[in-house]
């Protein structure tokens, strides 16, 4: 899923179809809080942190297999646990 723009935009774009726009932004805020950064400061280096933040929450809602796919869409090595 190639998505242009910043990493924060990509997080929101990947999560919105599943979680809706409101909660996709909330998930981004949770990643920012954990990283101690503003959304525009997030980059490729934060992919693993984003994946580890989102994995347990998404797995609870949709199971492991879809979670792995969603996290892989964020980029990086994939969402495998």
């Amino acid at each position: 899923m190639p998505i242009d723009g910043s990493f924060a935009d990509r997080v929101v774009a990947v999560l919105t179809p599943l979680l809706g726009p409101h909660t996709a932004k909330r998930a981004l805020a949770m990643i920012c809080k954990k990283a101690g950064k503003e959304p525009e400061q997030l980059g490729q280096a934060d992919i693993e942190l984003a994946q580890s933040t989102l994995r347990p929450m998404l797995r609870t809602l949709i199971g492991n297999e879809v979670t792995v796919r969603v996290l892989a869409d964020l980029g990086g090595p994939g969402g495998a646990p």
Partner: protein, 265 residues
């Protein structure tokens, strides 16, 4: 990663329209309904099979599958007129099915509430949730009270089967009130993700839970125990709608899981 738009509406439309047409054309509405019940159980089974063993949603989906299988036993027991010590086994299966069904709905609420993305952590939000659930519970109790009054007005049952049927009717109402409350709680939990694919199966379940409660109210009015005991065609169509909502929930969930698997493959 989306379920096809309109899948839920199409499922419910085909189920309810099919029942109406079968009844009008061939007087075979009940046979169609049995088919919908079997299809609902198969769809729930497919969802259970699609989730991995350790996935949190798998357990409540398994309970929902089990309750749908018990519904099939209820129909079989009614058809074959199974009974033990003068009491129809249909009543016993109905009780067991209702317990499992209510447990499934509570299980869905528990699983969804445990995700940090949905659960409310503030004291104010918790208070609001408790007030909402409390109000729903009060409505459920009022409904059960009404049910008991209705039973008293009709006079005490005189046979063992009559008592079993009366008890089953009251218990079924309690269970459906729980399912309805669980459904409303699901809607409340899911409101932040309405618009996202994940919410759609659970919204269908909430709608189905409400339809089951409406059927229960009609059953009470008719003095009946199970949907097979009523003659009112509107009630039967609402019953079909209730089951088809759960079938739609399972199909949407299945489509969502399979689209994720295909994308990963």
């Amino acid at each position: 990663m989306r379920a096809p738009r309109g899948l839920a509406t199409l499922t419910c439309g085909v189920a309810v329209g099919g029942r109406y047409a079968c009844e009008a054309l061939w007087g075979a509405g009940d046979a169609w309904q049995r088919g919908i019940e079997v299809a609902t159980a198969i769809a729930c089974g497919a969802v259970v099979a699609e989730f991995s063993a350790g996935d949190p949603p798998r357990r409540p989906w398994s309970l929902l599958l089990l309750s749908m299988l018990v519904v099939l036993l209820v129909r079989l027991a009614a058809w074959l007129q199974w009974s033990v010590a003068g009491v129809s086994l249909k009543v016993g299966f109905l009780l067991v099915g209702n317990v499992i069904f209510a447990a499934a709905m509570l299980g869905f609420s528990r699983v969804l509430g445990s995700s940090d993305l949905l659960s409310e952590r503030t004291a104010e939000a918790r208070t609001k949730a408790m007030l909402t659930v409390g109000a729903i519970a009060a409505c459920g109790l009022a409904f059960i009270g009404y049910n008991v009054l209705e039973l008293i007005e009709r006079g005490s049952p005189t046979t063992r089967e009559g008592w079993a049927s009366a008890f089953s009717s009251g218990f079924s109402t309690l269970s459906d009130a729980l399912v309805f409350a669980g459904g409303l709680y699901l809607v409340w939990l899911l409101r932040p993700i309405v618009g996202g694919s994940i919410a759609r199966p659970y919204l269908m379940m909430a709608f189905g839970g409400a339809a089951f409660l409406v059927v229960d109210a009609i059953l009470i009015g008719a003095g009946a125990t199970a949907q097979t005991d009523i003659a009112d065609s509107t009630a039967k169509l609402i019953g079909t709608l209730a089951y088809s909502c759960f079938a739609a929930a399972a199909l949407v969930q299945l489509a969502l899981l399979r689209s994720g698997r295909r994308a990963a493959g």
